[in-house]
Symmetry: C2
Subunit: 400 residues, 2 copies
């Protein structure tokens, strides 16, 4: 055996940051406490009941009756990969709308699992170009259309109805990324006839990262069952996973992999909080805090990247004023105020900040605190705000 001395490392004592970046979002104390519950086995009757309840609660959040609704045992990207790896067989075409970082990621994943992705190149910071999308759909033999509901890289909210309409031209399957919308903006799986959708736990659900809720329509499930080839990933094979997560009480749960017990406790509690607040009230809260933040930012003379009407309530992209150093302002917010906001991704790197107001983090207190801290940090970096952001936000709250 080793003769190496054991490393002596101090306990990890994380500070309580104000998490206002693109995720992870702050987690409610109830959820944090839920994770210190003792473990039970992954086939324990108590855990089976917990799984059933998580499924029920996820159906509520997704606004669906889909039986196949469950968390994948990985972060949002694992759920993303699970959808494309299961829906598509080798050489099948999929039309992918790319108006941000995560459309690009889906293109890459689709290529790797052996599908034939078709790019619809759209402008970053705008919703997808419907004419281009319609043309790509018509010129392809694709049976699946993919778009991102809430682009975390740009802050764009994508209207889903027109995409459903395009896919309907030949009864196509609609695959949607709802990582940064679920729990804030209505995803409306059944209402929008979305065939497959994945999300993460670490955004508007305010649960730590580590699971990825997914849902599939009955006809998507039929499509998966009718596959001629096995998915390239055993770990993400929904045919196998569902024999464990099945809530059909007539057949016993079949072991697939050891479920992340504790993360499921956390998701259970986070979803209970969503249900207690109610989706409608939760949406209104996110909407209101977003508008107050925008009122504050604009009063300070800053401008939003995304045109009005297409802005996410959960993730606000704001232009960094000329001459202001991205990293210095963010470091100041982190070190002086314990506030995390995000930098830009892709073409917005160094050009925009991403301010998240997600789940537990979407509060008036956080909006006011962030505006006050940002004002101070901007002044320290030589930028003189036009008006007081705090006053403008406070005025918005008084009036709304």
């Amino acid at each position: 055996m080793t003769n190496v001395d054991a490393p002596v490392i101090a306990a990890c004592m994380p500070p309580r940051r104000v998490l206002l970046g693109p995720g992870p979002s702050p987690v409610d104390d109830r959820v944090l406490r839920s994770m210190s519950a003792p473990l039970v086995g992954h086939l324990d009757p108590l855990f089976i009941r917990t799984m059933d309840e998580v499924q029920t609660l996820l159906r509520y959040a997704f606004e669906t009756n889909n039986r196949l609704t469950m968390p994948i045992s990985g972060t949002g990207s694992a759920g993303m990969e699970a959808t494309v790896a299961n829906l598509l067989e080798p050489d099948e075409e999929i039309v992918i709308c790319i108006n941000g970082y995560f459309g690009e990621r889906m293109f890459e994943m689709a290529s790797r699992v052996g599908a034939k992705p078709i790019r619809v190149e759209c402008e970053w910071g705008k919703p997808v170009d419907l004419e281009k999308t319609r043309a790509a759909w018509r010129n392809s033999r694709a049976s699946v259309l993919f778009a991102v509901h809430a682009e975390t890289s740009t802050g764009v909210l994508q209207p889903l109805e027109p995409l459903r309409e395009i896919a309907d031209e030949r009864d196509g399957f609609l695959l949607i990324d709802a990582v940064t919308s679920l729990g804030a903006h209505s995803v409306g799986i059944d209402r929008n006839r979305i065939d497959a959708c994945y999300s993460g736990t670490q955004k508007a659900l305010s649960c730590p990262p580590g699971l990825s809720p997914v849902t599939f329509s009955p006809r998507a499930v039929d499509r998966i069952h009718a596959r001629k080839t096995k998915p390239v990933s055993w770990y993400l094979d929904l045919g196998l996973i569902t024999s464990y997560w099945s809530n059909d009480s007539s057949t016993p749960r079949a072991y697939h992999h050891t479920a992340p017990i504790t993360m499921n406790y956390a998701l259970h509690e986070a979803l209970r909080i969503v249900a207690e607040e109610g989706l409608e009230a939760r949406a209104r809260r996110h909407e209101r805090n977003h508008h107050a933040l925008v009122a504050g930012l604009e009063a300070m003379g800053l401008s939003m990247i995304v045109p009005e009407g297409y802005r996410l309530w959960t993730l606000n992209t704001v232009r960094i004023p000329d001459g202001v150093d991205d990293m210095k302002v963010r470091a100041r917010l982190l070190n002086e105020f314990d506030i995390e906001i995000g930098g830009g991704l892709g073409i917005f790197k160094g050009k925009a900040w991403r301010i998240g107001l997600m789940g537990t983090g979407s509060t008036a207190n956080n909006v006011l605190l962030l505006l006050a801290a940002l004002e101070k940090a901007l002044k320290a970096e030589g930028y003189q705000p036009k008006d007081s952001g705090v006053s403008a936000a406070a005025a918005y709250y008084s009036a709304n």
Copy 2:
């Protein structure tokens, strides 16, 4: 938005089970408490330090200096898939020793990622057949040899030296499953010249399931960098993941996916406990409790599946006596004593129990409690133990 009423679901209040099955293992209260720490961002300086420390602690547990040593963001099966998906390119051969459920699983995964797996069919409950393995290796063009160090399905400990010797015949890569050995039996990555290895957090490390520690030798890393094709999985692409987990301070961490922050807190604390106890002392503790359990089981007239000398200390497979109902005994243990043990897998289904003594769960108290409870349950099901298991175990402890 939805008109559906929000589901009303009670909080999940798991009981404190005595987890003596094949996993998850019981988790130390320190680790449970670590998970209620507030979240920080996945690029927060505090989290970066935590990642570095997790890597240092994992190197200690794996007994390696491998730079590429880190946790994959999924359970043990995700780490398993990551190794084979990254090491092998399409149509490359890999010799897979199958003497249990997990060899079979690796065969399936290797096929799916496009490799050409070659089966070495071995007896379940025994170590791998070295003559067959050598023949398969010589008759193939495989560059990778796979075996399971600790077969969770059978309870067999696999000697690693002879496998290294076979692979050395033409400088092959040795890929090892250490899910149920790491933190108990010495894996000795560097000593045994293992090129790639994966484990889980939920066995002898006594951390909740959700992460999979992996380690790769420098020449395995070179092999991965020299790939001509991309791995089929974007989520498990080690080339991408390591640009986030890289501990090369000259380059900034590149975002890949949002790391499971809380699970990393837990692994950090679990590995600190391993380092405090020390690998050598931890091995001796697992060994001693295993022998005491076997003494007790044999005194009761029960017999072990695995021949002496090849038994895992962490996972004990014992034959279910003729006429005794598997499910009834396990239900009795669970309902009357809050004790979980595992049923058999594959050919041992209904024929064997799997008793885990892993990490925090490997204690004299648990051995004595289990023997007492099993004696009572067996009697209730009509089986009359030969002698007292508790007395035999207590005698073993007194003498050792």
